[in-house]
Every structure is written in structure tokens, then in C-alpha cells.
């Protein structure tokens, strides 16, 4: 599992003078489910196309199991792709589509027939083998595309936003199925998505990309709970940002002035000095909403409440005009739990649930929205 399968070194790519990938380094481990996550235009699809061989990097090398594959064309790379809109061959049947890769290898027909049957059984489409792609539903086309891509038993499967065309329920189902397939086949998956929820729930590791640069590489938990910068923090989930000033440092604790309130918190991993600005980050589920007569927390007013089924999401405007999003689970002991708009509350969090980031040059408020 922990052996490097594919390594990228100094990969850069320009389109018409614009840098899409900037000297990117990445190691893809054998057998892992790696997700490339980022907003559109971050270079994730270009990166995938470079891996597949449809694009050549301007500089840098791709090494697959010790072999330099930088200039090897796609048809001779031992990896396969599941395309965004599936790209099924319209003139071939389902079985014909799935068999295509093996036909290119000039395998004997008996072997092809057997492996096609197996592949279709694996994606539960055995009875649709003779259909044409346009006679299938979106989810079925998706399965054909997967069967077609895995039949050659590639070392690496590249998936370019494969679930983006499916509706929510089918997408959830395919997410589970893809995970199952990945476990059963033991193939390394490189999965491209702009959907952070999908990335977090499916991946072993997530690569957060922005403007052709890796922002963070880590497990879903690391990326969500310990983001290395504001961009990652905001991209992988809702974030409440509290600007704060360091008042004092006492061993492994620091005293902070957070919007006029003093808090004594664990010292962050980065260097801080007294008088310096830091950002305190809190996920909505880490926010605690208290009654207005509580003796601590930031006073504010509920300006919006959204019933989400399992949680109640509320937006609270603090006295200084900033807004805080809180997401609270329903309490079985208090079925009537709810807020009314305009209700006065106080907002706080449990010590230790916060995450601190240094205030970097590019982190001006608002500049990183989206």
C-alpha cells in the first residue's frame, strides 16, 4: 500500500501563456484512492489528462513503477480512464464497448468473451450486454464506462468527475459502489472532483489544488480538521473565521484577544509572537449556541435558520456585523429545539476544537471566497 506507484516531479503545463500546472510534485501510492479536489480551473483535469497521456507536460517527469512514461503515448500506458461524460462508443453494444480494450490487445475471442462476462457481472449489467449505449440510463452508462476501463486490469484507474452527471441519490450509490470496486480490484484510483463531500467520503488521501499548485495533501480528516491555509479550509467545508490577536504566550498555551473577548487556547504548531494576528477557524458543527443570558461567548442575533433533517443550521449575526454559521444536531431530549428569527443568543466553542492559521499575505478577508 505504501509503495509509490506513480511519481510526478516538477510537472508544469502552460496553455497560451497561462500556467495551468506549476512545477507540481506528487507521489501516488500503490492501491490508494487519491482524490484531486479543487475548483474549476485549478488544473485537476489537466493533471489527469497528463497522467493518461493526452497531454504532454512542458517540463517535468512522470515515473510509473520506476519507468519514465513522460513521453509514452496513451495507448501504451498501463492505465485507463473513466471519462466525465462516459464517452461510450455509440455504434458498439455494451459488450462491444467493454471488449474494446481486449480486442486492441488481440486477445483470443474465447478469453475476451469470458472476461467481458466477468466485468459486466462485476458492475451488475450482465443482462444488458447486447444493448446499445443510448438505450441505457445514466447510471448504467456509468457502469459500462467503469467496466470498459478496468477490464485491462490497469495499474491505475483515472476517473474524471465520473459522478457529476448523476442525480444525488444515484451518486451516493455509485460512490459506495466505486469504493467497493476499488477494494475488490486492488487498483489505484485517481479521482477528480470539485465536490468536497465526495472527496472526503471516498478518499484515502486528498490533494487540494488551486491555480496549478498543491495546497494540501493529506487524509480527509487532516484536510478537513487541520487545513494548512484558508483556501483549503474554506474549500473543503463551511468555515467560521475569527480574527484574533496574540496577547501572551504561556508555555503551550496562548492568550488571545478574539473580537474583544479573551480566550486561553492551545498554542498552534506554527511560530507566534505577542501582538501578532492569527485566524481562529471553527467548523459550523464545532460552534456552540448559548442562551442570551450566558456569561461568555459572543452576543448575536439569529438571522436565518435552516432545518436540514438531522441538523439545524443557523446563521447568527454578531454585534460587530460578522456572521457565524452554526450546525447543531437535534437533541432527543429536546424535540422542540429551534430558534426563532431575531432571537438573541451567544456563540462560543469548546476549547481545543478550534484550528489556528497564521495571517498570510494573501489571506485578506474575502479574497479567497468560493
Amino acid at each position: 500500500m505504501n509503495q509509490t506507484l506513480l511519481s510526478l516531479r516538477g510537472i508544469s503545463k502552460h496553455y497560451g501563456g497561462r500556467a495551468v500546472l506549476k512545477a507540481l510534485d506528487l507521489d501516488i501510492l500503490d492501491g490508494e484512492f487519491l482524490t484531486l479536489l479543487g475548483p474549476s480551473g485549478c488544473g485537476k483535469t489537466t493533471l489527469l489528462r497528463l497522467l493518461a497521456g493526452f497531454e504532454r507536460p512542458d517540463s517535468g517527469t512522470l515515473t510509473l513503477s520506476g519507468q519514465d512514461i513522460t513521453s509514452i503515448p496513451p495507448e501504451r500506458r498501463p492505465l485507463n480512464t473513466v471519462f466525465q461524460q462516459y464517452a461510450l462508443f455509440p455504434h458498439l453494444t455494451v459488450a462491444g464497448n467493454v471488449a474494446y480494450g481486449l480486442r486492441m490487445e488481440k486477445r483470443p475471442e474465447a478469453e475476451i468473451a469470458q472476461r467481458v462476462t466477468e466485468a459486466l457481472a462485476m458492475v451488475q449489467l450482465a443482462e444488458l450486454a447486447e444493448r446499445k449505449p443510448h438505450q441505457l440510463s445514466g447510471g448504467q452508462q456509468q457502469r459500462v464506462a467503469i467496466a470498459r476501463a478496468v477490464i485491462k486490469r490497469p495499474k491505475l484507474l483515472l476517473l474524471d468527475e465520473p459522478l457529476s452527471a448523476l442525480d444525488y441519490k444515484l451518486r451516493r450509490q455509485m460512490q459506495i459502489e466505486l469504493k467497493r470496486l476499488q477494494r475488490e480490484l486492488g487498483i489505484t484510483f485517481v479521482f477528480v472532483t470539485h465536490d468536497q463531500e465526495e472527496a472526503l467520503s471516498m478518499s484515502d488521501r486528498v490533494v487540494v489544488l488551486r491555480d496549478g499548485e498543491v495546497q494540501q495533501l493529506g487524509t480527509p480528516r487532516e484536510v478537513y480538521e487541520r487545513p494548512t491555509n484558508l483556501f483549503t479550509a474554506r474549500f473543503v467545508g463551511e468555515t467560521n473565521l475569527f480574527p484574533a490577536t496574540v496577547k501572551a504566550i504561556n508555555g503551550d498555551r496562548i492568550a488571545l484577544d478574539v473580537r474583544g473577548l479573551s480566550r486561553d487556547l492551545r498554542k498552534p504548531t506554527f511560530q507566534v509572537s505577542v501582538g501578532e494576528q492569527v485566524n481562529v477557524l471553527l467548523r459550523p458543527e464545532d460552534i456552540r449556541v448559548l442562551a442570551a443570558d450566558a456569561d461568555y461567548g459572543f452576543a448575536g442575533t439569529v438571522i436565518e435558520r435552516n432545518y436540514k433533517g438531522s441538523t439545524l443550521d443557523s446563521l447568527i449575526r454578531l454585534e460587530d456585523g460578522n456572521e457565524v454559521l452554526a450546525s447543531e444536531f437535534f437533541d432527543e431530549d429536546d424535540p422542540a429545539f429551534d430558534y426563532s428569527l431575531g432571537e438573541q443568543v451567544r456563540v462560543s466553542w469548546v476549547d481545543g476544537w478550534e484550528w489556528m492559521l497564521p495571517v498570510a499575505n494573501g489571506d485578506a478577508a474575502g479574497a479567497l471566497d468560493g
Binding site: A52, G53, F54, P73, P74, E75, R76, N80, T81, F83, Q84, Q85, A87, L88, F89, P90, H91, Y100, G101, M104, E105, K132, H134, R148, A149, K152
Partner: protein, 256 residues
């Protein structure tokens, strides 16, 4: 009244389109010698038509020519469309524009220039000159038909084929050509029809060694309308309809 007006108008339009054809078919079965009087049903003009060896020969000549012209222009046109769609090269826009020039320019201009060229290079007027001329005016239609299909083609299909191990040529053979097939057939049929009923260009570039049907009919009509022409017209109509049905059938079956 207001309900009937549009219907009557529509009927008039269709009558204008179809009555002449109907008259032609009915009179092809007319027993009378003069074209204007009805003399009862008969197949004598069909008989006369097939007894007319020059006419039958002209018909075969036309069919062969149309077959050859359609096939040659489909091969050249298909490859041209592919080149224009797939590759970037200098003068691509000019090349595309020039196709439209050929299509839009008056036929008579094309005819004269072709004739002039054949005379300059000293080509004997006959089958070859006709074929070259017909391929010339059919080509743009084929290219445009095929390009329309290619422009709707998902590029990812070709990438998927390469991803699965197909080289450039194999991709063209196993994916591109099958996907293009309906357009190639449609282009072929279009070229075939265009070639079959061309008069203007053919008048200029044909020679005595190879007489084709439209010119034969044209010369027959000049000396007076023979009822045989009605019979011939009816046969051509049935043939064209059959081709139309065939092409629609192929397109329907290959839909998507």
C-alpha cells in the same frame, strides 16, 4: 372561413408541387400518340422506352457515372472533412472557404472553366471528363454533410479508444469511420442524385463517346415532347423515391 383559408392555401401549395408529377405519371400510361389527349391505359411507352437502345444505353451510362462520381467524391470528401475537422494547418480557413465558392458559384461558370481546362490539357471529352466534373461539384456537398456530423462528435470517444490501446489508424478505423458512416452514406446519396440529374455542366464536358440520360432527354424534348419521356420520368421518380427511403432507413437505423 378563417379555419378553411389556411387549409386551402396549403392545398394549393401542395397541388402546385405535386400535380405536375401526377400528370407525368398518368400520361406515361396514356395510349394516345399525342401527349395532350387521353387515349386509355397502356404500357406502350414503357415498351418503346426499353426498345430504344440509345436511351437504355444512356441510362446505364448515367448510372455508372453517378455511381463512380458519388463514390470518388465520398472518399475524397470524407478525408477532406476529416482533415478540416481534426488537424490544424496553414490555409485551413481558405480551403474551407474555397469549398463554398465551388458550391455557390453559378454552374455555368464551373462548366465553362472545366471545359476550358480540359481543352487546355487536351483531355478527350467523355467518361473521364464527366467524372472529373461531377466529382468537382459533388465534393463540397459531401464535405459539408460529413463535417456537420463530425462537429457533433465527442472528441473523448477518440481519446477513449487511444486510452484503451488503439493507435491513431486503428482509432480512425474502429471508431471514427463507423461513427461517420451515416454521414458518409448521406453524402454519397446526395452526390449520386446530383450527378444523376446534372444537365448544365454535363452539356459542356460530355463528348459523343459517352451520352448520358439528362442530355438524351434534353435533346429529345427539343424536337417535341415524346410520351416516352413521361415513362422515363416516372421510372426515375420511382428510383429516386426508393433511394430516399433507403437513405432514411439507414439514417434511422444508425441514429445516435
Amino acid at each position: 372561413m378563417s379555419r378553411w383559408l389556411p387549409r386551402i392555401y396549403l392545398m394549393l401549395v401542395y397541388a402546385l408541387l405535386y400535380v405536375p408529377i401526377l400528370v407525368l405519371i398518368i400520361y406515361s400510361f396514356n395510349d394516345s400518340r399525342t401527349g395532350y389527349r387521353w387515349g386509355g391505359w397502356s404500357l406502350r411507352w414503357y415498351q418503346a422506352l426499353f426498345d430504344n437502345h440509345a436511351m437504355v444505353q444512356a441510362m446505364w451510362n448515367s448510372l455508372w457515372l453517378a455511381l463512380a462520381a458519388a463514390t470518388v467524391s465520398t472518399v475524397i470528401g470524407g478525408l477532406t472533412a476529416l482533415a478540416l475537422h481534426r488537424y490544424q494547418f496553414r490555409g485551413k480557413q481558405a480551403l474551407r472557404g474555397m469549398l463554398f465558392v465551388v458550391m455557390m458559384s453559378p454552374e455555368i461558370v464551373l462548366a465553362i472553366s472545366l471545359l476550358a481546362m480540359f481543352l487546355v490539357v487536351g483531355l478527350q471529352l467523355g467518361f473521364v471528363s464527366l467524372l472529373l466534373a461531377h466529382v468537382t461539384f459533388c465534393l463540397p456537398f459531401v464535405v459539408i454533410t460529413v463535417m456537420a456530423r463530425l462537429s457533433g462528435l465527442d472528441e473523448r470517444l477518440l481519446e477513449a479508444a487511444r486510452d484503451l490501446g488503439a493507435g491513431e489508424f486503428t482509432t480512425v478505423r474502429t471508431i471514427l469511420v463507423p461513427v461517420m458512416m451515416p454521414a458518409l452514406l448521406a453524402g454519397w446519396l446526395l452526390a449520386f442524385t446530383l450527378s444523376l440529374d446534372d444537365v448544365v455542366v454535363s452539356t459542356f464536358v460530355s463528348g459523343p463517346s459517352y451520352e448520358i440520360l439528362p442530355l438524351r432527354i434534353y435533346s429529345m424534348v427539343r424536337v417535341g415532347l415524346k410520351p416516352e419521356v413521361n415513362a422515363l420520368g416516372s421510372l426515375l421518380l420511382v428510383f429516386s423515391l426508393a433511394m430516399l427511403v433507403l437513405s432514411q432507413f439507414i439514417l434511422m437505423r444508425n441514429k445516435r
